[in-house]
């Protein structure tokens, strides 16, 4: 924060004034097409006053800091537990809430939680590619789609069950990860982004137009839910635990791989590709590896999605979906596993919670992301190299 204040605000009151003015104007301009001039005007006045006051307050940061220290002293006098015990308590609290959710939550909440679980796996997969290896992939949804359709087709056309089609579908997805990686390997940054974007669109268009196989935009219905110990997992609460296991396994494995020779090589490639190859990392192989490993998890998420919905159509795999997954990774903190979990949960939950204000929810979400990038570019739970 202090970095921001020192570089962007300057110290003169005029500077602060214009800065508040620009932010307020920008947001009212965004708002204007939705609610007309009057509402935009009100928003402008409110925002401008608020920002200007905030800026003035910042000037008195020292005194505010003093107050905070006093508070801290007061709290430490209350003998709050040490940070380690506190984090154990936090983990305990979170796991209790997560484990008992179906007991008190209504179906709607569980449904969102299941969706969050699928997106956590997806975002973790993308985090391997974007967060660890530093390869911007804008077509990640393609692998999600390939996973979902592989299971859907194997199940409906050939009648293969969930557990048998899983390894088959995952093989298909991982292979497609390799295939995309081959042309993409020579590219970097924005060029890579365009190629992956194209790949995502190609996959969606193929699914949309290959009527004889995928039934085109009508999608494939009648997909079997997974079964376990001889019984189908049809009930939502069962499915919740089913997904939870997959999420835990995904996080567990990705964490271990990230904290190994392979993960370190990925991060080194992200930091400096030439230096990585000069210390003996085969950058080509490890980029391939990263793409395929990320795609694998997208495939897992896709299979779970198809099994849960029992229906797939190209509509679920648009470019916006890729952007959403990327937002989850960025929001939570690129390269941070707990951060990406948080990002996925927030971006699934938030639009649902904001349903009350229907029209503005995308606006709120968008401006929230803009704010985040300005004030906390490293994401909610930052730290690239974690």
């Amino acid at each position: 924060m202090s970095r921001f204040t020192s570089t962007s605000y300057g110290n003169s009151p005029i500077h602060r004034f214009t800065h508040s003015l620009i932010i307020a104007l920008w947001f009212s301009l965004l708002f204007f097409p939705f609610k007309g001039l009057e509402a935009a005007g009100i928003l402008f006045v409110v925002l401008f006053t608020a920002l200007f006051l905030l800026n003035i307050l910042k000037r008195r940061r020292v005194s505010i800091k003093g107050t905070i220290t006093n508070f801290k002293k007061y709290f430490s006098a209350l003998k709050l537990p040490e940070s380690k015990t506190r984090s154990i308590a936090l983990i305990f609290l979170i796991s209790t809430v997560v484990l008992t959710l179906p007991l008190y939550g209504h179906d709607y909440l569980i449904d969102i939680a299941v969706l969050s679980g699928i997106y956590i796996i997806l975002a973790q997969g993308l985090n391997v590619v974007v967060g660890f290896t530093g390869l911007l992939n804008l077509g990640f949804v393609a692998f999600y789609a390939i996973g979902a359709y592989s299971y859907a087709l194997l199940n409906t056309k050939l009648g293969i069950g969930f557990w048998t089609s899983m390894p088959l579908s995952l093989a298909v997805v991982t292979l497609s990860g390799f295939i995309l990686a081959i042309p993409a390997l020579r590219l970097r940054g924005d060029y890579l982004a365009i190629v992956t974007l194209g790949f995502g669109e190609i996959v969606r268009l193929v699914l949309n137009n290959w009527d004889s196989l995928t039934k085109g935009p009508n999608g494939i219905s009648g997909i079997e839910p997974p079964y376990l110990f001889g019984m189908h997992i049809g009930r939502l609460s069962h499915f919740y635990y089913f997904i939870l296991i997959f999420v835990l396994v995904a996080v567990f494995i990705i964490r271990r791989v990230a904290d190994s020779r392979i993960g370190r090589a990925w991060i080194a490639i992200r930091e400096d590709e030439i230096a990585s190859s000069s210390i003996g990392i085969n950058t080509t192989a490890y980029k391939l590896y990263s793409f395929a490993f990320g795609a694998f998890w997208a495939g897992v998420a896709g299979i779970l999605f198809a099994a849960k919905m029992q229906f797939v159509s190209p509509e679920s795999f648009t470019f916006m979906e890729s952007v959403l997954i990327l937002c989850m990774v960025i929001l939570g903190g690129i390269g941070s596993i707990p951060g990406v979990i948080l990002g996925a949960v927030i971006l699934v939950m938030l639009p649902e919670m904001l349903r009350e204000i229907q029209l503005y929810r995308m606006l709120a979400l968008g401006s929230g992301l803009v704010m985040l990038m300005i004030f906390r570019p490293q994401g909610l739970i930052g730290g690239k190299g974690q």
Partner: protein
Amino acid sequence: MTSMVFLLEVRDLTKHFGGIRAIEEVRFRANEGSITSIIGPNGAGKTTLFNCLTGITSPTKGAISFSDREIAGLKPDSIVKLGLARTFQNIRLFKEMTVIENVMVSQHCRTKSGLLSAMLRSNRFKNEEKAISEKAIEYLELVGLESYAGVLACSLPYGSQKRLEIARVIATEPRLLLLDEPTAGMNPQETGEMMELIKKLQELGKTIILIEHDMKVVMGISENIIVLDHGVKIAEGIPSEIRSNPLVIEAYLGKEHSA
């Protein structure tokens, strides 16, 4: 008389970038265990020579034999595996990784645990990880950075970053080390420490080739000096020969005008 042991032999190495002749038919040899300096004015092709030797760019023509293997045109990581590694003129550390991670990751080519053992945390994996971190501490001790193991590489001061780069390159277990301006931007004290370090590396049995501008360093530690100018080798010899070579003086100071 027994024949000399050459660890590196460069023959007629040429690199053209379009019409620019970055290096032109350069040939030299480096003895096992020696320190060789490559000097020359800016743009003489010194770094391009390093890039060719380490596979970052492939030479237009010529041969590079390293311990009796032809390495011209190989990829950088295969060359490192054979035991030829380098540092960079402008520091290229992994900035967002900690100091120890920088040294751990560069043992990559000397380790081999794969995805499965990382997932299962097999005993072999654990032993390898332990060996990696122990060795990393050793290498950090060599350059005197062991107390900074846990900090981010980007937060180190400049001189320490240069030394970390050396620790990182040593971790690849090279036989031949190419140091690109190891003392650039250092104050006299840091330069002295760096010279000590380079000598220590030689005592450890490493062969060293360095690009250097600081003549005190060049004359102080090198056994053999190669002078490049406009991509061409104009002189080679022991420090005292180079110091009095008229061609070298001309390349650095320009031709004397006849008054």
